[in-house]
Amino acid sequence: MDYNLDELTRAYRLMKTIREFEERIRSEYQQGKLPGFIHMYRNQEAIAVGACLDMRNDDYIASTHRGHGHCIAKGCELEGMMLELACKQDGLCNGKGGSMHIADMTKGMLGANAIVGGGPPIAAGAALTAKTLQTGGVSMAFIGDGASDQGTVAEALNLAVVLQLPMIFMYENNFYAEFTRNPKPEGRIAERAGAFGMPSTVVDGSDFFAVHAACREAIERGRNGGGPTAIEAVSARYYGHFEGDPQAYRDDDELRSQREAGDPLPHFLADSRVAALDASLIAEIDSSIFAELDRTVEFALAAADPTPEKLYTDVYVNYEGRAMQ
């Protein structure tokens, strides 16, 4: 597949933004400046970006608890994200969602999800909207290797096949579910999904080009009425399950080699197709990312908390009873 400079620039910028966004919030979190649980996406950046690069705002994604990368790849603004991670009033979700429930309806980002396996049925519903209203849109669910076992995922796979929904099951096999190594052999997830009756494939999740090619095909299939597709992208988790997990259960050698092999950025930059992105352009992108992060972090940490009455708002569009007064 050929790539033009704009595509390469966008791909690089998004992957690098995810990487640096996460490194930055990690450091803020370690300093106690961000609340809740956060889950780092490092070394899976190529998956989110490869998956979303061809998507439009009327395409949908349903994300996971490890959702920052998906947000950025789907076009969410860093400022709104940073405010949300800091749980501030002007965050994407007014601080009520936080990292694990961040969402942006204007971008078709239907939410991170703190329920493992919660997203795929929702993504199937968004695909049903696209099909029913004939928008030409597609819908993608991100699913961890651990989540792939959850019954809801099987149900969504089957529904997508039966209704021939424009949907992509984007599995992210990073080998671990929390502190436990997933016992499934590589490729088993794609095989399972395939056995529901849809095309499925396994790709190297640290290879942007591999992910993107598979997703382009899947998205086109969806737009053209060809039904769902499953993609298992494999790339080992870099950090612990959540920030603060020392990964005592992972042995150092395994970790070192997986970390190195799985880094999508050098992988990307070493590809001959990327020659067009010269060092000065990269430096420019990088410095604009760092500047943007400095700005948004500073802005977010100084921003206003939700005012107390916000506890009670937006439970319903409207409610005709005392319980909401």
């Binding site: 949908y60 349903a62 965050g91 994407l92 979700c93 007014n94 601080g95 009520k96 969602g97 429930h101 969402a103 942006d104 309806m105 204007t106 239907l110 939410g111 999800n113 703190a114 329920i115 919660g118 795929p120 049925p121 929702i122 993504a123 199937a124 519903g125 968004a126 695909a127 049903l128 909207t129 696209a130 029913t132 209203l133 819908s139 019954g151 809801t152 149900e155 969504a156 089957n158 529904l159 039966v162 209704l163 708002t313 937006d314 439970v315 319903y316 569009v317 409207n318 409610y319 005709e320 009873g321 005392r322 319980a323 909401m324």
Partner: protein
């Protein structure tokens, strides 16, 4: 026009689908079957086609979740959960996803969704097909719960439910499907949170939920024969609950019997009793009597099932107990 509850629901589905092309029906056997086990969705496929009347596999999480995802993205689904007992296999999508979308996304989302479901005992179908379970749903912030007791209310409340922008669970008592009454023709919408005074009275208030409103009405007739004037209130919507009407009635009568077919603990009967004990304390001349099913599953055998369901005699007995206080 005189019609049954089943016919009123079927008619309303026809009218609302004709009124708004975004309304879609989904569920098991709703289309290619005979309109479900009780024929409630009969004729819709012939009229609106399989793109809007959608047969699904037997996967309630996928049904409810997809309905949620579809609602979030522009459709107005009316999904069928055949029996409310099946809440067990799909609760997460209601509890953690649909109910919370709007709040956790900071007010970005609207989820115009109706889940139609059958409740109640009396058909000899045993412990897993006869439950009430609406207290579990009424407890959930973000969900509304409706339980009509006659055909006219079924029509007006279902129309309102479908036009609402909040998720609504619409509970159809299967032992009421064949009950007939006059139903207003044309556009007929009943606002939520407005109880119906079935009978006016002065000595005691009987508050009956769903089918129990019908039994309370019968009990009032029996009491009237003995010279006791009972006021019968049907809240019609359980969340929101029209607390004012209940309190106003109790302020007049000083006595209350709450009749609820559900199991007793943490029930709507407890909720209403607790509410009146808190906000209507001064009105009460006697303890609130709760008439509910016992703290047991629903037995299959009809000879025990009839004792399981509250009866007119139980209501009369409770009323007399309150009056004798």
């Amino acid at each position: 026009m005189k019609m049954s509850v089943r016919e009123a629901i079927n008619l309303t589905l026809h009218e609302e689908m004709a009124r708004d092309p975004r309304v879609v029906i989904m569920g098991e056997d709703v289309a290619s079957g005979q309109g479900g086990v009780y024929g409630v969705t009969a004729g819709l496929t012939e009229k609106f086609g399989v793109a809007r009347v959608i047969d699904t596999p037997i996967t309630e999480s996928a049904i409810v979740g997809a309905a949620g995802g579809a609602a979030l993205t522009g459709l107005r689904p009316v999904a069928e959960l055949m029996f409310i007992d099946f809440l067990g296999v799909c609760l997460d999508q209601l509890l953690n996803q649909i109910a919370k979308f709007r709040y956790m996304f900071g007010g970005q989302a609207r989820t115009p969704l109706v889940i139609r479901t059958m409740i109640g005992a009396g058909e000899g179908t045993g412990p897993q097909h006869s439950q009430i379970l609406y207290p579990m749903l009424a407890a959930i912030p973000g969900i509304k719960v409706v339980a009509p007791s006659n055909a006219a209310d079924a029509k007006g409340l279902l129309a309102e439910a479908i036009r609402q922008d909040d998720p609504v669970v619409f509970c159809e008592h299967k032992a009421l499907y064949m009950d007939e009454c006059e139903v207003p023709e044309g556009d007929y919408v009943i606002p939520f949170g407005k109880a119906r005074t079935v009978v006016q009275g002065t000595d005691i208030t009987l508050c009956g939920l769903s089918r129990m409103a019908v039994l309370a009405d019968q009990a009032a007739a029996e009491l009237a024969a003995e010279g006791i004037s009972a006021e019968v209130i049907d809240p019609r919507t359980l969340s929101p609950l029209d607390e004012e009407s209940i309190l106003a009635s109790v302020s007049k009568t000083g006595r209350l019997v709450v009749v609820d077919e559900s199991n007793p603990l943490c029930s709507m009967a407890s909720e209403i009793s607790g509410m009146v004990a808190e906000f209507g304390f001064d009105y009460l001349d006697a303890p609130v009597q709760r008439v509910t099913a016992p703290h047991t599953p629903v037995p299959a055998t009809p000879c025990l099932e009839k004792d399981y369901v509250p009866s007119v005699a139980d209501i009369v007995r409770a009323a007399k107990k309150a009056l004798a206080y």
